[in-house]
Amino acid sequence: MPDREVRIGVYTCHCGTNIAATVDVRAVAEFAAALPHVVLSREYKYMCSEPGQDLIRQDIRDHNLNRIVVASCSPHLHEHTFRTALKVGGLNPYYFHMVNIREQVSWVHTERAQATKKAKDLVRAAVRRVGLHEPLERGRVAIHPDVLVVGGGIAGIHAALTLANAGKHVFLVEKEPTIGGHMARFDKTFPTLDCAACILTPKMSAVRAHPNITLWTYAEVTKVDGYVGNYKATVLRHPRYVDEDLCSGCLQCLEACVYKQAKVPDDFNLGLSKRRPIYIPFPQAVPQVPVVDPETCIQFKSGKCKTTCIEACGERHAINLQAESKVEQIEVGTVILATGFQTFDAARTPYYGYGRYPNVYTALEVERLVNASGPTGGEVVMRDGRKPQTVGIVHCVGSRDENTHRWCSRVCCMYSLKLAHLIKEHTGAEIFNFYIDIRTPGKGFEEFYQKLLNEHVHFIRGRVAEVTDWVFDASEEGKLVIRVEDTLAGFVRRIPVDMVVLATGLEPRADAAEVRRLFNISCGGEGFFLERHPKLAPVNTFTDGIFLAGCCQGPKDIPDTVAQAGAAAAEAMALIDAGYVETEPNTAHVDEAVCCGCKTCNSMCPYHAISLVEEIRKSRVNEALCKGCGTCVAACPSGAIRQNLFEDEEIFEEIEGILSNA
């Protein structure tokens, strides 16, 4: 118990009408004024505002308050704000407790009397609790200056380069044999139509060349320990069987492969072309080092290959089919997750015929078709070898759909317009867009839409019902018929086309859940990684020192992705340059007078923060390792472990406060 007399100030916030509309704020304030130890109780429009905080600072001096309770929004929003106000006011910031009467009262209840009563109960609980609060100091943890960036798409690349250019050492880990991600597959980018490769590949080479970047492709993070400033990561590097240091990138081994014809579906081109067992994903791949695919390489399957590739490599001896995977241990202070997205699997909407009709394509496949370095060398020819005369682009496949994904994938409208333009450019075909709404909120987007309208591309408003080859008349013969209700014309139409392009949406990667657990962060309901705050902390996570960039956080286009990557890099740099972070003091500590050394607590701690000190036969908590979950506190059989800010007695008081009129 605190030594000096407890003098509590209680502040109840209107939050404009957010709270006041449902909770009788005056009644709550008057109620609080009558509670024991409360010497001052105010209500105010916006407690979080500067004048609101100043009110607290002033009152601490004028009424020498030594405990503060603020009843307003969620502590996740403004607990820090008010603690700072206490500090400035000359009071220990932890002589404070916050009551959530907005998110958990006014916004979720309708009946004024009940909401007001609940607010009073919670305030009484806080007042009873805060009287027991002790002054606490935040600890400091040094920040390791190195950064781990996971994912080598445009987001990871940009974040890595930004940090590296600022002189920070970056470990960039990419799952695929090359960096570049989805962007590397694109032909042009909207709305400017500049060549994706032209803007991406220089950055890719820059990564490869940068002295501050350690690039590990074909690698995965398998384990992460530690905490902000001091993460320990384990990276598993798969063998590519071609030594990155010895290989010159001459690619003669590819030609030399015993497979004269490439036979293996090429995943970079989404199976639209074939590759050999030894291959390079695409011409500008970084690193410029081939990969051997053990699944298809004869030597791996039978051991009876002439291994002409090794001959071809000759003196360099870069090819080693005995190579094994490597495990790297690294220490970093911060992590940027840029693990990206995957496109919606069109097979999940069978009524659009993907996989059933060869001439139904996904947008990403068409990106490759129109790409000069693509499977057809930029020729838009269909699987049956014909050039399409008419093309239908179906929007919102796997987006804005109760049956698949509810969210808008943000990029489909724009890339559909882009593809419409490019296909028309390549084939002169007649093009129909089937859309629910055309969304062009970005810079230059609407203008691009207008441009397309002027290019006589057709736009039909309506969600496509089905794509079928069941023809009614000669005009539909040999074509795919798109059935759709034209909601502008107001009737159902049948549009026969040669080629159908499905504008598939963006969704979280299949392994998003594992990655989330690996890095101990949260996912939103849709499965994208959850940012700490949608507005105020969009690239932060709930785990300090771990930041988000790009589509792993939600669908976005390249400009937004790059911007976010820059922001994430800046957040990491802010920590690194500060050199340390302050840790919350809500850690556990052992009351050695009570501890009997039974070791129950030691096994409770997932961070191995508790150990038995043999000399005194008592357990001790390493407060730097303690994350303040309090599991050991509940488990301690003799009550010898206590948790700052969550002392048993404080919680008992809170419970009794809630119930004292029950």
């Binding site: 959530n100 599991t631 919680i651």
Partner: protein, 148 residues
Amino acid sequence: MPEEFEPKIVAFFCNWCTYLAADLAGTSRIRYAPNAEVVRVMCSGRIDVQFILKAFAKGADGVLIGGCHPGDCHYQEGNYKALRRYRLVQRLLPQMGIEEERLRLEWISAAEGDRVRVVINEMVETLKRLGPLRKAEGERAADLVEVA
């Protein structure tokens, strides 16, 4: 009872999942019964069985524990500790004359704002069916001291 019995629920929510879900319910303006009042702890693993029994002794008609889904604990496995304790308390309560339904444990992730509504509303219904939990002996025993 003169007017309809309004059960009182003490809810212990973990800071990272269920408390955030309750915040999300707020930002999403999801409406639910006002009978539950939240005590925020960092992790469901912090919830000492003493807290639960204290709540019942002081007049709670029900106690709700909210934590992260299995495998999702912000502290890796605190929620499993909570689960083990919960399973054992559930064996104790009936011996103490308290129906099992009065104590509920729910895994509610930060994204499941609506789940908060569903769970609390369900629990209020259950408790209305069960009626108020009579005062515990601990309370009445205090009378002896007063008259002493």
